[in-house]
Symmetry: C2
Subunit: 189 residues, 2 copies
């Protein structure tokens, strides 16, 4: 998605060989018009997937998921990062954050995913893929629903998540794949 | 806003005399079409306020703020709930949560609010008003920007936040004011 690549080049701040900060338009300040285009693009990509629900993780996935939901005309559920809710009420998964080098729990109320749902997972970043795997555990293994696809704004192609998810048979659509952040420059796949 | 009142009556779960759960459409599962109407309504209410930026708090304020930003055509900044960031980089405020009976810190990068901004504060709930006051401290006192209004989806009229903010001179627009949750029934102002 050219609009997004241009923005990453113009405003992305490379923090290290594996980290880029895009908080001026994606995950702290949000360019709503850009998110609108991102939402349209996800809607176009998954138009024929029979999506009934979008699932994401708070907080930075929400804006993207909402815009995709607006065009796909389905509700959004965001998993909460919190202590595990009691098992009678919620699905839980443990997610290891590569960026923060620690684990956290995500929870979704059982009331909001049924086995009949066809779920599109949406997130702002895909790196090692642990957040997506946590959501797959909740949606697929625990709720018995189908994951029809995974929509990512920025995939770090040099980390293993995308490859592993695709090899497991999931359809992963990343609007931008960053191939390298070495030598202080962004290169795209 | 009738659409919202109807939904609260149909799906709101009264937890106590001061708490109502609306997580089936507002703050866990999100009815995107309803949020779209909420965004349009905030846009209509604040159309003449010269808003340059919307500021909210993660996570449940984001969906509402994004939809308001879509129609007002301004960026959204969400304050992060985290340990205080270093003062050189961020504005910080401490917020006491009535619901959780504990304090937490909110942070906004200094890069995203300038003294020239005219800020609309958006949140899903207004109860004691501490989250709004934390954002006012950041936007007004710390960044030197103007708070042109506060847009709230559900105000708890029986708690003191709305009264105190209005007495301080702020324009508070609540789409729904819940007057009472006593005796297991919702009544509106």
């Amino acid at each position: 998605m050219k609009l997004l690549k241009d923005r990453i080049i113009a405003e992305g701040q490379i923090i290290s060989d594996t980290a880029i900060r895009v908080d001026s338009f994606l995950n702290h300040q949000i360019d709503v018009e850009l998110m609108n285009e991102v939402g349209k693009e996800f809607s176009r990509l998954f138009a024929d997937s029979g999506v009934t629900k979008i699932v994401t993780v708070e907080a930075s996935g929400i804006a993207v998921a909402i815009m995709a939901g607006l065009y796909l005309k389905v509700p959004v559920v965001f998993a909460k990062k919190a202590k595990p809710l009691t098992m009678a009420d919620a699905y839980n998964a443990e997610v290891f954050s590569f960026t923060k080098q620690k684990s956290y729990n995500i929870s979704v109320s059982k009331r909001f995913i049924s086995s009949a749902d066809r779920v599109l997972i949406i997130d702002d970043f895909l790196a090692e893929g642990h957040a997506s795997e946590g959501l797959i555990s909740i949606v697929n293994e625990q709720a018995g629903a189908e994951v029809v696809g995974i929509g990512i704004v920025i995939e770090k192609g040099f980390q293993k998540g995308g490859k592993r998810l695709r090899e497991s048979g999931y359809r992963v659509e990343s609007l931008v794949v960053v191939e390298s952040l070495s030598s202080g420059a962004v290169s795209f796949a």
